[in-house]
Amino acid sequence: MNVTIPFEHRMSAHCETGTLSSQLAFHGLTIPESLVFGIGSGIFFGYFNNSRFAFPTFIVRNKPGQIRKNLSDRLGIKFHAESFKTPEKAQAGLDKILEKGIPVAVQVDFFFMEYLPQYLRVHINVHFINVVGKNGNNYLISDCYHPKIVELDEQSLMKGRFAGGNMAPEGFLFYPEFIPKEFDWPKAVHKGIKKACFYMLKIPIPFLGVKGMRRFGRHIVEWPKLAINSEDLSHQLSKINVLLEDQGTGGAGFRFMYATFLKKAAEILEKPALNDFSKQMMEIGDNWRGVSLYAARLGRNRDFEREHLLELGKLIDKQADREEAFFKALSKSI
């Protein structure tokens, strides 16, 4: 089978929002990544310390797939979303849609994406890519973390789509089926911000939102007890930086992207006050960068003194205070 869809490849900061944004652009709706992120209420925080994870970890965005669902609810865009029981059916399903000339977004495990650099290839099932054609036995992949469209063999893609484990993709794919002609942008943006404030402040679970940040700040002093050896601890501390900066967040755990969204929201809602909030978010992001740099240095220097870890915990706790005040004010002003 040979199909090449004329798809405009774009690099973006985050995989899910980038994939959605390029898919919608293909179907004629130009919507920047930051707006997708904001309307989808992507900003979040969660600290996880349970047996599901080899070591305590944290997230800075909502559940994978949630941005698409929120966007669909708030803008009325209908997506065709499908999971499969077997790899054979998943491949047949994908080929069928490609033959119609529609680019498809699929969920995969990073580990099997052979075109990515080695250090990115870890077992996490939360990556989204666009499949934009097929050349013999190779699929054409537009991955927004990669500078150009690449070829990936059938078997690797299927392994990635049926990796199993946490948040198993089960061959999940989606593409926009129906895009309305007119949108109620102010309503969508308003709802996106309101929900983000709820997620950050009021969600009644002690490790999510601002409460999660506080728990993270308190718990980080205990990390040396949980690590196997000093190199493991160093690796985990460096990972704080990676999770905040490098894993497709646009810097500072999506805070810079959210600041960009708030600036756009000020225009859409015609509320100049949101420009100030945008500036404040940028500052909060800068402070997160301070946290990640501090953690990276501790990791690099194998510096695990209790005082320094306490200091790191304090920095994170301060971030919790800042974000709590920010989202409270944002929630009131909107």
Binding site: M11, S12, A13, E33, S34, S51, R52, F53, A54, F111, F112, P117, Q118, Y119, R121, V122, H123, P147, K159, A163, G164, G165, N166, A168, E231, D232, S234, H235, S238, N241, V242, E245, D246, G250, G251, A252, F256, M257, A259, T260, K263, S278, M282, G285, D286, R289, L293, A296, G299, R300
Partner: protein, 171 residues
């Protein structure tokens, strides 16, 4: 973040960051990541050291091959059980060398699929002249380039068999 604070002279990988531009607007900017540009050597050092420690333990018979691959690929017992389809209690048993002796071949096949390695590699370590395990060549590609030959493991129609051969390195 200001646009000027983004690492513009990146060498390893291009990323997209959101930053304040000179005209005061906010938007995406191309740049390099601090960790990837500065700390990648430390990351590889830790990873290769971990592999060497685990390999020494494995060859002494202190850990089982399942644990070797599980730790290297950063999985938990629950995650491995989920990915392979072997139940958690059995995975725990197979992590110990004495438990591994009683593994069924059908279980090994499932593990091999989850780790993406040939079944044969649960019973052998293939080393090249630079002391690397070819399974993890993709982790240590720069080091592996020093070798004159490269080891290739070709899958066959029989899921239990693999053809291992050496090839002249061209690049």
């Amino acid at each position: 973040m200001k646009e000027k604070d983004v690492i513009h002279d990146y060498k390893v990988k291009k990323y997209i960051f959101y930053a304040e531009k000179e005209d005061g607007s906010y938007g995406p900017v191309e740049g390099g990541s601090y960790m990837i540009e500065n700390e990648l050597d430390d990351f590889w050092f830790k990873k290769s050291h971990l592999e060497k420690t685990l390999r020494a333990q494995l060859l002494k018979g202190e850990i089982s091959p399942v644990q070797y691959y599980m730790v290297l690929e950063e999985m938990t017992v629950a995650e491995l059980a989920d990915r392979s389809g072997v139940c958690k209690v059995r995975v725990k048993k197979h992590l110990k060398p004495e438990g591994f002796r009683k593994t069924h071949v059908s279980d090994l096949e499932k593990y091999a699929k989850a780790f993406d390695v040939p079944v044969a590699n649960f019973f052998q370590i293939i080393e090249t002249s630079s002391g690397l395990n070819p399974n993890y060549h993709f982790y240590f590609e720069d080091e592996a380039r020093k070798d004159k030959v490269r080891v290739i493991q070709q899958k066959t129609e029989n899921p239990l068999m693999v053809v291992t051969k050496t090839e002249e390195r061209t690049q």
